[in-house]
């Protein structure tokens, strides 16, 4: 394994008197697929917000490719190659699907002109299977389509790390399979993936490493099999019954 691409050292974030993240430390290696799980309100999205500068860390340090990026602004994160998708999709509703992706290419992907940005955008639409919707308005897409659009937009920014905030929430089983295949293809291109996910099926089939967040603290960091056996994780998040079921189904495979 190569050098870590992203390093967090004792990152905390408070909102007034509420400590949302408490001294989080971990690192991501290049090309890794890491999942972040934890109960609602554990601080998963806040952690992504801290990394991308939406709500910068109150203390601690974040280094990306050896550079200190603790106080960066979101647009700087985007230009550096730290792309993210939102749990609640954020399209530009009155633009076409193509223009949405071109925005990512033009501003985040450092393209010099509109023409190049459009070319990249078409390529990414092809890759994500949205090519036939290129000229539709973004608001006309289904939820699954809009989630794909978020992915295409992020990919157009030439990310080094892609942070996916519940890209599978609200999708049906076949749509999830499609999204999983897509995420694997993105990872195959060497993009480091940091995925927030509630569906254990997705986490177990995709992630090489799992981080567990509970009440703003990191309570576990390890490979998926260890995580489902960790009593603290079972107590905080999985539940006795569910953990047993996962172990049984894992035994069958």
């Amino acid at each position: 394994m190569s050098e870590p691409i992203l390093v967090l050292e004792d990152v905390s974030r408070n909102f007034g008197g509420i400590l949302a993240l408490s001294e989080i430390s971990f690192s991501l290696k290049e090309g890794e697929i890491v999942a972040l799980i934890g109960p609602n309100g554990a601080g998963k999205t806040t952690l992504v917000n801290a990394i991308t500068g939406v709500h910068p860390a109150s203390s601690g340090r974040i280094r990306f490719l050896g550079v200190d990026v603790t106080g960066q602004r979101p647009f700087q994160a985007a230009r550096r190659g730290l792309a993210r998708t939102f749990q609640i999709v954020q399209p530009f509703p009155q633009m076409t699907v193509l223009e949405n992706v071109a925005a990512g290419a033009l501003f985040g992907g450092a393209h010099a002109n509109m023409h190049d940005a459009m070319a990249t955008a078409r390529e990414k639409l092809e890759f994500t299977g949205l090519a036939q919707f290129a000229d539709r308005s973004a608001s006309a897409l289904t939820l699954a389509g809009r989630k794909r659009l978020e992915l295409a937009k992020s990919l157009a920014m030439k990310p080094k790390i892609l942070m996916l905030d519940e890209v599978n929430a609200g999708l049906n089983a076949s749509e999830i399979d499609g999204a999983l295949a897509l995420i694997r293809r993105i990872a195959d291109q060497g993009v480091t993936i940091f995925i927030i996910e509630h569906l254990m099926k997705v986490v177990l089939s995709l992630a090489q490493r799992v981080l567990v967040l509970h009440h703003g603290s990191l309570i576990a960091d390890g490979n998926p099999t260890d995580i489902v056996n960790d009593p603290r994780v079972i107590e905080a998040y999985l539940g006795e019954k569910f953990a047993r079921r996962i172990k049984e189904s894992a035994g069958n495979v």
Binding site: T52, R73, F92, M95, A103, G104, L106, F107, G108, M157
Partner: protein
């Protein structure tokens, strides 16, 4: 209507405005100057209000500051055109500094803050009597020549300013700046996330929306030869200009010009016919227009409308 047709119509319109001294009386020439002047103001507002969708009510502050910056430097001995350029840069710099502060606000809060600036600047100007003459106003060195010559000169000046702002609008519209501003309008958080430096883009748009108001103000001061705080910082202007832009179609290249023309011609029409109630009638007309045409006059599909009307007629004719 294709974009090329729109450019041709616009060229004809500019030529018609420019030719008013040849065929019309001084009153019409004055109206043409006012149309060109307000077109420049509406095009300016379009940068922040149309492209970015931030409801700015600062127009009168920028216009008024332009009046005083131009008048004072002209009195201090700067040649007239030099004073206009100074006013442009001064107001642009003022807006850039101000923008960094107030563009943190969004929506209604931004609207209120931008409106407050008009009052603050007006109070400062009227209280600073030593420099600005306070409520007594300020005399500006008069342009030499008869009324006809003066009107022709300022008609040309206002048209040149209008065309300059129009050219900048076309440039911004086609450039990445315009694309970024539209991203901010539709979803500011998403724009930030795809790498648009939203603060810088908004400040640029706000500055663009201000600097040409400064030019117009300075030219207006030279034209009328006298300015005072209540005329320069008129609340009516700060509301009228956004209405003109919205009437034509905010965020489009031609919308501000169509809207300004429609507004001023309507105003003229009601002024001439209903001396007492003209403002009330005009207000009602604006409310109705904006209520039924939220996208502005340019968004109507006139072809569909004709089709629907003729369709109805032929249906009605059938037994």
């Amino acid at each position: 209507m294709s974009q090329a047709t729109r450019y041709v119509l616009f060229a004809i319109w500019v030529a018609a405005l420019a030719a008013t001294p040849l065929w019309a009386d001084n009153y019409t020439v004055r109206l043409a100057i006012i149309i060109a002047m307000y077109s420049a103001l509406a095009l300016s507002w379009n940068f922040i209000g149309g492209f970015v969708g931030y409801p700015s009510f600062s127009t009168a502050a920028f216009f008024g500051l332009g009046c005083y910056a131009g008048a004072l430097t002209q009195k201090a001995g700067l040649p007239m055109v030099g004073a206009w350029v100074f006013a442009t840069l001064f107001v642009g710099a003022f807006a850039a500094v101000l923008g960094v502060i107030i563009l943190r606000l969004r929506g209604h809060y931004f609207a209120i803050a931008s409106f407050a600036i008009v009052e603050v600047v007006r109070l400062v100007i009227s209280s600073w009597g030593d420099l600005t003459g306070g409520g007594d106003g300020l005399n500006v060195p008069l342009v030499t020549g008869g009324p006809d010559a003066v009107a022709q000169t300022f008609l040309a000046v206002m048209i040149v300013i209008m065309l300059t702002v129009f050219a900048v609008t076309v440039f911004v519209d086609r450039n990445r700046l315009g694309f970024g501003l539209r991203c901010i309008k539709q979803n500011e958080n998403a724009a930030d996330m795809v790498g648009v430096d939203t603060t810088r883009y908004k400040v640029i748009a706000y500055t663009l929306s201000a600097m040409f108001c400064g030019t117009v103000g300075a030219a207006y001061a030279s034209w009328t030869g006298y300015i005072d705080p209540s005329d320069s910082f008129s609340v009516l202007m700060t509301v009228k200009v956004p209405v003109m832009c919205l009437l034509g179609g905010a965020g489009t290249v031609f919308g501000p010009i169509v809207g300004t023309t429609a507004f001023l011609l309507l105003e003229e029409f009601f002024w001439a016919r209903f001396l007492e109630y003209n403002r009330a009638i005009l207000g009602a007309v604006i409310v109705i227009l904006i209520f039924f045409l939220p996208g502005g006059l340019l968004r109507i599909s006139y072809r569909d409308m004709v089709k629907r009307l003729t369709g109805r007629v032929s249906q009605g004719a059938a037994p």
